[in-house]
């Protein structure tokens, strides 16, 4: 199963073989959970959003065709779910103090990450998403260009500006003087 392409697996799901959804889940649940968490800063909600995403694949499986790249299609669906979530909960604007970054991290690491994510949360939406996808979800520049329907040069330019903006914000909140 590891050698099967995402697109082939989607073909099987489209044909009604729901067992293949488990393979897609195995491949992407980690990445999507991180995307939802970094965007929402709420772990419990991120879990729910991740579950919703994979079952939305079943609901909209007919809209996927062989000319599409699954990863891009999945991301667009995740983005729609997230927008619905923000519209419904209005939590996007709040920066939570009790961010539970990762139970495996040390307290110091957690504190440092907390400031970093508070800074990311203050970024304009476009920059924030770009940082999260490129740095935490392993999307390459070429993939981001496909998703945003633009050129790689444009993605590079936006990434540069996003990092510059993040640097400015982070310097104001970097109590540890790590930079």
């Amino acid at each position: 199963m590891e050698n099967l392409s995402d697109e082939y697996i989607m073909k099987k799901i489209r044909q009604g073989d729901l067992d293949y959804l488990a393979y897609i889940f195995e491949r992407y649940n980690h990445q999507m959970l991180n995307y939802f968490f970094r965007m929402s800063l709420n772990y419990e909600d991120s879990r729910d959003l991740t579950q919703s995403l994979f079952f939305r694949i079943l609901k909209y499986k007919k809209s996927f065709n062989q000319n599409m790249i699954f990863k891009h299609w999945l991301y667009k669906m995740a983005r729609n779910i997230l927008n619905d979530y923000f519209n419904k909960n209005k939590k996007y604007i709040s920066i939570q103090d009790d961010i539970n970054i990762n139970s495996n991290n040390s307290i110091d690491q957690a504190e440092q990450d907390k400031f970093l994510f508070q800074a990311i949360a203050k970024l304009p939406d476009e920059y924030k998403e770009l940082i999260i996808l490129s740095r935490f979800c392993n999307y390459k520049q070429s993939e981001l260009a496909e998703i945003y329907d633009t050129t790689i040069a444009s993605i590079k330019n936006k990434l540069y500006r996003a990092l510059i903006k993040l640097k400015e914000i982070y310097f104001q909140t970097d109590k540890y003087g790590l930079l």
Partner: protein, 254 residues
Amino acid sequence: MKCSDIKLLIIDVLENPSAIDPELQKQFFEHIKKCPNCADEFEKLKALNNKLLQVKPIKPDSNLKNEFSAKLEKEKFNSGNSLKFLIQNSYKIAAGILLFIMGSLFGYYFTQINKVAHLRQELEELKHSYTSTILREQTTSAKIKAINYFNGKTSIDDDFIHILDNILNYDDNVNVRLAAAKALFKYSHQEKVKSVLVKSLKNQSEPMVQIELINGLIYQNKSEAIHYLETIINNKNSNSIVKQYAENKIKILI
């Protein structure tokens, strides 16, 4: 290399320096050494980028997968083979049901039509048989009722013509003969009936019936009526009252 060129290259240097042309990379770092502003920006961005890359991704808890698996099983159960079959073939099933209903309705409709036609035929045969039996064997009132059976019929068959002919000429009761005469006049457009009536005018023994026949026949064809009346007048066996009635009628016609 200018400061603006550095900005264009920074992302590539941070993400994948090996992919940059060595000469460009050399120029990039030469500029950084000479330009404090660019050096400061590059160092800070590099540190920030490293920090971003050092962030450990959160690990999904084991329940996430368990919950997903449970939901998937439920989903599979809900969209089982029978349901899937129903959904995928819903239009075929609907068409099949529709065809079946239409077929049943048409079948039922045509069966009913055939049944009704058959019943009507049986009823007619029964009426025919019943009426002919009554006319041959029953009482006066029953015979008169039976003769009324002809009301509404457009024609009568030879069998009934024969029965009514016998009643008209030989029945013991004059009222029954008169009813038969009236019944036959309804079908006088049938040549055979007309022939029976004309023949009866000559052979009729009942004066009242003869008068009824005169009245019936003379209004159908004037020339033929005169001939009928002359036949009665010239017949020595004709009743005197009937003769007198015929003479009066012929004066009117001539």
